[in-house]
Amino acid sequence: MIGPVMIGPSSSHTAGACRLGLVAHHLLGEAPRTARIGLHASFAKTGRGHGTHLALVAGLLGFLPDDPRLPGAFAEAEKAGLKVEFHDVDLGDVHPNTAQIDLKGDTQSVMVIGSSTGGGIIRVGSVQGFKVDFDASQPTLLLRYVDTIGVIARVATTLAADGANIAALTCAREKRGGDALLAIELDQPLSEPALNFVRAWAGMAWTRMLPKLMDG
């Protein structure tokens, strides 16, 4: 509530937008090349004046909300070889400050829908087309895999063995036996060896350890 320390002018349009960009940045896991960003309602209408576009791009480049390079994010994107395109979208009955980010690198791509709910706080509502609900105030483990019996139990056991305590967990799947996405908020990030262990499982299509993006 006192914070974040940030570059102005708007916590929901600038700091929150930067964090939404950061979510996509971390989930892509490689240098971003092209970004298509859809802006909904208030983000579309008043975004420009609040530096929303700059902040989203700054986030995609991995800059934090208090990074002095934020106001120059477009030039930084050009330097980094990232092409960005904005458009207006109607995402239906979601928070007025919501963005849909399609981010591509050389080999990976990620789709994120998230809202900036005020004071720099965000809520991620969709990853790779799956419904999720987390705020990145904790390290969040994301796993996409072919839905089979026992996966969640195996993940939980691995986390426990690694000493990573589960704070919240959401699971969404396309259909029985289809693709599923598990989002697990943790008290501390999963260790690299444990992450590699999970990565190697049969049916595990995509794994990401999203770091904590809020500083209170």
Partner: protein, 296 residues
């Protein structure tokens, strides 16, 4: 769930209770939480100093010289506290409008209110920054209690949610700084809040500049007024949490045009529309040529 009633009934000082809750929730050490808050107060100070000495224009050119202008002007009312509080508040918000570094409190648009009121009062009375840490922790607790009931953003609840919350937080902080009981602190917050209900968010062109910069000056003084009443044992007739509920209800009733979309109020005045057109690189609907911003 943390409520204003909990805070009001907490043992003195109210900030101690907020700190204990914070430690329990985050597992952090109280010393670390305090140190981080001291760092943020330092950031607030920096933004005040930068703002008071700069008259560089904002993104649109609508603001940028107000804080310095007031600070350098003679004190016409012979009211140094008011002048200081207003100048500090605008200094932070003009820094914000220039895409400078500020501390959101609770948002960036309302970032000047708390430093304006709390640092302004402290400097006026010669109180050192170390003593602001606990009142600032209480401010955060009040903000948190309000945010449990409603989203704190102009887009969700109108300006009452942003500036109203910041004024309530500031009022509680100033009251604690000056030795007020938890009850007095929370009644100060409640008085500030109930006198902000209904305030719409209608920023010109969608930029956090007009009315936002002057609004922070006004509501920083508003917070100090609330503290003054509460320190004299005056109370909010409607209980604090009911006031929060009323504000949340008014926020839900507020049409979208008055919630940060720049589709109503000041944003839709002829001058507001001309600024918008100018910033979008369009010709204004009436009159030829790019307009001169009236206040530039």
């Amino acid at each position: 769930m943390l409520t204003l009633t909990d805070l009001m009934n907490a043992p003195a000082p109210a900030s101690g209770w907020v700190l204990a809750q914070d430690c329990e929730e985050t597992g952090l050490d109280p010393a670390d939480i305090r140190a981080e808050m001291a760092r943020r107060i330092g950031e607030m100070r920096d933004s005040i100093e930068r703002g008071l000495s700069s008259d560089a224009k904002s993104i649109t050119g609508m603001v940028g010289w107000n804080a310095k202008g007031l600070w350098d002007a003679p004190d016409a009312l012979n009211a140094p506290l008011i002048r200081r509080v207003q100048a500090y508040a605008m200094a932070v918000n003009e820094e914000n409008a220039r895409m400078g570094r500020i501390v959101a409190a609770p948002t960036a648009g309302s970032a000047g209110t708390i430093p304006g009121a709390l640092l302004g009062v402290a400097d006026h009375l010669g109180i050192p920054d170390e003593r602001l840490v606990d009142p600032m922790i209480l401010a955060a607790g009040v903000g948190k209690a309000i945010s449990k009931r409603m989203f704190i953003s102009g887009a969700a609840g109108g300006c009452q949610a942003e500036i109203g919350s910041s004024a309530a937080m500031a009022a509680a902080a100033v009251t604690e700084l000056l030795g007020g009981s938890p009850r007095a602190c929370i009644h100060a917050a409640s008085l500030a809040l109930m006198n902000t209900i209904g305030l719409v968010c209608d920023p010109v062109g969608g930029y956090v500049e007009v009315p936002c910069v002057s609004r922070n000056a006004f509501f920083a003084v508003h917070a100090v007024s609330a503290a003054q009443l509460a320190l004299a044992q005056l109370e909010s007739f409607i209980p604090p949490d009911e006031v929060v509920g009323a504000m949340a209800q008014v926020g839900r009733m507020m049409p979208a045009q008055l919630r940060e979309t720049a589709e109503g109020g000041l944003a839709q005045t002829p001058t507001g529309l001309a600024v918008t057109a100018c910033m979008e690189g369009r010709q204004p609907d009436e009159g030829g040529g790019m307009i001169e911003l009236p206040m530039a």
